[in-house]
Symmetry: C2
Subunit: 318 residues, 2 copies
DNA sequence: CTCGCCAGGTTTTACGTATAACTTCCGCCT
DNA sequence: AGGCGGAAGTTATACGTAAAACCTGGCGAG
């Protein structure tokens, strides 16, 4: 019976019988029991996606992309949002280990990741692990990254081209490789231009937090002419702070973001930002994991990003 | 061995032996095999959450709340975003049926729901189903609702109190009980006040869509003084349309939303809206499902909502 | 002193699947 | 005609757990 549905009955069962079996299965409404199948096969066709928080469009997009590819291959994707979202579920990774074929994890889920690493360190079992947005030299069977460095370079290029020289980097206060890259790349690109100035302010990723964090830097004569934000939410907070201190965007202050979330076009003026294809990111992550499971080489190369120029950037003092 | 870890070894195994077993299990790094356990017990401690799309903060919050309660009871939550997000995965519900203990479904996931209903109709197996935001008289073992009617009533009250009489209802063009309630309740509340006018415009739930849909209604002398939106995203679109036609908010036009998403405070002025506690919604949904599984009666009563008055509403012609 | 009972421990079975191993039957070649 | 090979079909086994069923030995009561 499993032969027929499994599809590999050539030379084992006659075509007529196969058809009879199919008819009978349909008649009785037969559905294979997943638990039994998983037990027998020793694999579950389920992967774990570890994300920092689901409450952001970005990771919702990553999930959607990963789930789409997964479904195409008969896989399912379960989520492991970081503990602060779910509460103190002790070691859900370890307890679910036998129910997983692999893991995809964002480097932004640092806390969850350390739990995983700890567990894997204790014992020998190596569950395939694909890291997203993470140091290629770091842990993980494979790494899939967005070409954030290129995005930051494009932002710097754009602002320099408009004539800006006094920059403020509104950085996400989250310890993650992807944010290190943004800071490093921005500094590197600006270092080549004489007469530029680059200051940095850190903020948690939220509109309110960014507004509070950046406000002081926008007051007084020493204020920058352009604010480069690690994220669209930080940019939205910058809008609010600018309004508070009486600065017009883009006339008095240029602002850029990264992500191209819905909020980027909800605010006025619409935000110049770097578009990240979250769904493609998820797809690539899942494809990489599938490749690892098949024993193949994962696709190489970072995922390209693109600068979307909107109304929040202009020449300084325009 | 399973006895000790199961916790019900009183009168079966001596305390000393239980301790020895525990020590040995820890030593060997023993982890129970989930597939085998599920097969043996005939239940999986996994529930399916059916949502229209994950790319919205709201359902991300619902998931977070549901997952939190689930984790506390040793349950996991897997997602079934509607097909358009995932692609044509045939009948994932049916195929995963044996791997589920129950289902929580939003009425907004109409397409996915019909698949579920169809499958359940064919056969006798009744998987516990908790409906969210849905007609209490409709299908489902239990129903958990937000008190949207009360929220709409508060919005109407607030605007009437400010002196508004000419209303536009920007309605979500999604066939769902929750949106029917909003329309019905708004009309009912306004029907009691002489001299009021209520028009309706429909729009898909997106900023761009709303901007295009509402723009025409804001031009000309016949324009309303207040726009009541089914959702914060629709409100954000209304902001953009208002700006296009040169209307100031709130001086020329009052706008209200529902949800209290991040976008509500990102836009300027901040949006007067009805706060829905998405996480609590998810928690209640999960608790109801757990109650059903335990054979108990689910908690009664709608979840209260609250009007958050911000800067987008004022007296007409202020 | 013997029987019975019960705490404490060991063996057995079933869950539903996938597949290896085994049986049966028929036709064809030598 | 005998046997041999392969197609078609049948039976057996293992996956790892939970729990029922089944042993065992010691102690108290009659």
């Amino acid at each position: 019976m499993s032969l027929v549905l499994g599809g590999k009955w050539k030379g084992r069962v006659s075509a007529a019988t196969a058809e009879r079996v199919r008819a009978a299965a349909a008649e009785l409404g037969y559905r294979p029991n997943l638990a039994a199948r998983n037990l027998r096969l020793g694999r579950t066709r389920t992967v774990l996606l570890v994300v920092p928080a689901l409450t952001t469009e970005f990771f919702a997009g990553v999930y959607t992309g990963a789930a789409r590819v997964a479904a195409r291959h008969g896989f399912g994707v379960v989520l492991y949002p970081s503990p602060e979202g779910i509460g103190p579920a002790r070691d859900p990774f370890a307890s679910a280990q036998s129910a997983l074929d692999g893991v995809i994890a964002s480097s932004m889920a640092a806390d969850a990741l350390s739990a995983i690493r700890g567990d894997r360190g204790d014992r020998g079992d190596q569950l395939p692990l694909v890291m997203l947005d993470s140091d290629p030299e770091g842990p993980g069977t494979a790494t899939v990254n967005l070409d954030i460095a290129d995005g930051v370079r494009q932002v710097a290029e754009h602002l320099l081209g408009l004539g800006h020289r006094d920059f403020l980097h509104l950085a996400a206060d989250v310890p993650s490789w992807t944010f290190e890259v943004r800071a490093r790349e921005l500094a590197a690109r600006l270092a080549g231009v004489p007469g530029t100035r680059l200051r940095t302010v850190r903020s948690p990723i939220s509109i309110k937090g960014a507004e509070a964090a950046v406000r002081g830097a926008l007051e007084g004569a020493e204020r920058p002419t352009a604010v480069v934000c690690d994220d669209d939410q930080l940019a939205a907070g910058t809008y609010k702070a600018a309004r508070r201190v009486g600065l017009r965007i883009p006339e008095d202050l240029s602002v850029t973001g990264i992500d191209d979330l819905a909020v980027a076009t909800a605010i006025d003026p619409e935000l110049t930002t770097v578009r990240l294809d979250a769904e493609l990111f998820g797809e690539r992550g899942m494809r990489a994991l599938l490749a690892v499971l098949e024993g193949e080489e994962p696709e190489e190369g970072d995922i390209p990003v693109s600068l979307v120029v909107r109304g929040s950037t202009a020449a300084p003092g325009a």
